[in-house]
């Protein structure tokens, strides 16, 4: 039966009410997990706080396994859900630029909204930067329009590309995530011995 909106089960003006409610839940979980602090977020790159890795990987494996079960029980038609398209070279380039943005700015877009909510001015400036960055991109778009559309591979899934079934991919992610949780737990304990705890 699902997805509800694309299948016409939920229609009309509920879209934006649902968007608002899902957003509220998203923002609540981000803030409650500590993503409203750039120092918590940056910790994942220096070994003193792996909260990003824990939340992110747990969410990915829960969602992957959950979606497979929804598919298995026939609750969700997987071929009707949106698969993010792949434009290989521009997406690699974009993610490298975002990586620099993350380590220099200390936030990503969603987390900066929650940090503004609790009064962080650095998050407000970061969001202003987002606006400016997207504006600069849009104005300069004719310069790299060809590059932007290059490497178009359609919307392949990981299964399409690697030839491994979705079940095994989800399983691999679970194993890697559990290993990463354990390794980072050991690293974090060691690093924290040599670092002054920070106040908020």
């Amino acid at each position: 039966m699902g997805p509800l909106i694309p299948n016409g089960i939920l229609t009309g003006n509920w879209d934006f009410v649902i968007a608002l409610l899902l957003g509220i839940a998203f923002g609540f979980v981000l803030e409650a997990s500590g993503f409203s602090s750039s120092r918590n977020l940056a910790g994942v790159f220096y070994g003193y706080n792996f909260v990003v890795l824990r939340v992110f990987f747990t969410a990915v494996i829960v969602a992957m396994v959950g979606l497979l079960y929804f598919d298995y029980f026939g609750w969700l038609e997987m071929d009707k859900i949106f698969i993010l398209p792949t434009y290989l070279t521009p997406m690699i380039t974009g993610s490298v630029i975002m990586g620099f943005g993350f380590i220099i700015g200390g936030f990503c877009p969603g987390t900066s909204y929650t940090a503004i909510a609790i009064g962080k001015l650095d998050a407000l400036v970061f969001t202003g930067g987002l606006f400016l960055g997207i504006f600069l991109f849009s104005e300069a778009f004719p310069l790299f329009q060809d590059f932007y559309y290059s490497g178009d591979m359609g919307s392949p899934t990981i299964t399409d590309m690697l030839g491994i079934s979705a079940q095994w991919i989800a399983f691999a992610f679970v194993v890697i995530a559990l290993a990463a949780f354990w390794i980072t737990w050991v690293i974090e304990k060691r690093v924290r011995k040599n670092i002054t705890p920070y106040k908020f």
């Binding site: 909106i5 934006f16 957003g23 509220i24 998203f26 923002g27 979980v29 981000l30 803030e31 500590g34 940056a42 994942v44 220096y46 747990t58 969410a59 829960v62 969602a63 992957m64 959950g66 979606l67 949106f82 698969i83 993010l84 398209p85 434009y87 997406m91 380039t93 993610s95 975002m98 990586g99 620099f100 943005g101 380590i103 220099i104 700015g105 200390g106 877009p109 969603g110 929650t114 909510a117 609790i118 962080k120 001015l121 650095d122 970061f126 969001t127 202003g128 930067g129 987002l130 400016l132 997207i134 600069l136 991109f137 919307s155 899934t157 990981i158 299964t159 705890p197 920070y198 106040k199």
Partner: protein, 177 residues
């Protein structure tokens, strides 16, 4: 250092529990809407709207802005704009419940000044905004929701962001540690 020495120790929820909630939220979102969560799209809508208001002809002629302009409604009348407004409200709610809403402040490592932190935040924001357009989404839309829905591109963006972060973390360590 022991925990009791730290004043104002923040009460965060267990990160694995937070991840579990976030994972369930992604499943619910996909189940209802057929796609995942996002964040950078809302800022893009704000950019398109602003340009459209300032110079409508410029927006219509542009190969980029014109993709997001329609005659029947404003670019702000968009799913991601409402969702991102929700992210802000959700942050406000959580901040209120856990007592983290305080007066306006700049959070930074004691080794750098507020000014340095704000410059970093601005530069980082510009780069993130710019990169998110090539990446077809940011950490929420591409890396998290993309990977969770088994998109190959989403996984590439996830590895790209975090891989780059680790690769260059050393050079920016003075900003954080």
């Amino acid at each position: 250092m022991k925990k009791h020495k730290i004043k104002n120790y923040p009460h965060y929820i267990n990160p694995y529990f937070g991840g579990l909630l976030l994972g369930i939220l992604i499943i619910i979102t996909v189940y209802i809407t057929g796609r995942g969560l996002g964040a950078s799209g809302a800022v893009k809508s704000a950019v398109v709207t602003s340009v459209d208001v300032v110079s409508s002809s410029h927006a219509e002629e542009s190969a980029f802005y014109s993709k997001f302009i329609s005659d029947d409604h404003s670019p702000m009348y968009n799913w991601l704009v409402f969702e991102s407004f929700g992210i802000f409200i959700g942050g406000l709610l959580s901040g209120a419940i856990f007592g983290r809403i305080k007066k306006f402040r700049v959070e930074h490592s004691p080794k750098i000044t507020s000014k340095t932190r704000l410059i970093g935040a601005a530069v980082g924001g510009i780069l993130f905004g710019f990169g998110s357009q090539f990446g077809r989404g940011c950490t929420s839309g591409a890396a998290l929701s993309g990977t969770a829905t088994f998109s190959f591109g989403g996984m590439i963006v996830m590895f790209g962001i975090f891989g780059t972060g680790y690769a260059v973390a050393y050079f920016f360590r003075k900003l954080w540690i």
